[in-house]
Symmetry: C2
């Protein structure tokens, strides 16, 4: 059973590793990746710097584990809903719902990952760009199928894909200061707006 949240994905790790990742996520969120030392992460988790290095050989390894889990949990949520739904309209709806809810729930993680991406090694960057492309591909395939079958009318399918991904990704930026907007309202408005962008005739 694939994890629904990042915390669930970490549940099988040793408790000390979970504590370190939780501490790193909070510290990076508050002070930025470059502004945080591994010593600070260790102390925040109530451990010695030496104990940290038993689990994570470097600060980058912490960022990578956070970013990798975030990418994979988001990918899995999108994949699962796309499998459950039939037809391009329902699949576009599903991707928007999955992406919006992920970026509202995991806004701290998502912002760190978006901003600190270039602090990862180039191998790690490439790997995660791959996961991102596979996630985006679910949306692009739904759009292309809709265009082929005449359900959608997209003037520029590539830009429309980016735009719909942007709507969902940018939720991580504004959601923390707009919590009076319930996730259900955001999801309902954004699925409607995404289908309007595609001139859905459904």
């Amino acid at each position: 059973m694939a994890a629904e949240t990042v915390q669930e994905a970490w549940a099988d790790l040793p408790p000390t590793a979970q504590k370190l990742l939780t501490a790193a996520l909070a510290a990076f969120g508050e002070q930025g990746y470059h502004g945080t030392t591994t010593r600070q992460v260790a102390l925040r988790a109530g451990m010695s710097p030496a104990a940290l290095y038993m689990h994570f050989p470097s600060k980058e390894a912490l960022l990578y584990e956070i970013a990798r889990t975030g990418h994979e949990v988001n990918y899995e949520r999108v994949r699962r809903v796309c499998e459950e739904r039939v037809g391009p309209v329902e699949r576009v709806r599903a991707v928007v719902e999955a992406m919006v809810s992920f970026h509202a729930e995991h806004h701290t993680l998502a912002r760190i990952v978006q901003y600190e991406h270039t602090s990862l090694t180039s191998d790690h960057q490439r790997e995660l760009i791959g996961v991102r492309r596979r996630t985006e591909a679910f949306l692009r395939e739904a759009i292309d199928e809709g265009v082929e079958t005449g359900v959608f009318d997209a003037a520029d399918a590539s830009m429309a894909t980016t735009a719909i991904m942007s709507l969902a990704i940018d939720v991580a930026r504004w959601y923390p200061s707009q919590r009076s907007r319930r996730p259900a309202r955001i999801t309902s408005a954004y699925t409607d707006l995404a289908l309007r962008m595609l001139a859905s005739r459904a």
Copy 2:
């Protein structure tokens, strides 16, 4: 004459202050705000830390000057095009064009400002949120006018405003890795998508 770019806005400052702001922008972009010291900014600008403090009393003062100028230049661009265009369709188009081009041109600044907003003093945060609201108000007014006159059909005008702002703001995230997309293509696609979101009948 209001400045068209952040660099133009800084052109009246003493050359040493301009150098320090340019150095701070580059350093914050590479190492994050928390990962950068005022000493590093001074050295990058070819000055002593003491010379920096003659112009900026703190690291926050550098971030504030960068963020304030960014907000004001973007606001001025939006205000100007809105004054030139007539009617809600043309004004929505104008806001999207101005916002997209600002966020493509000033992507490093925009990302720093988006991410490091909470590092500003609360007075500075409040001031800049005010500029942001006034910028967004041009879009909201155009949407409301379009809905009242029956040119637009927005199910949730507040969410549609956020969504259109998001499209433009998120350009700063993806544009650096998608430079093969010319700004003219992005602007043309995004004005079309914004008007589709509003079910424009123009």
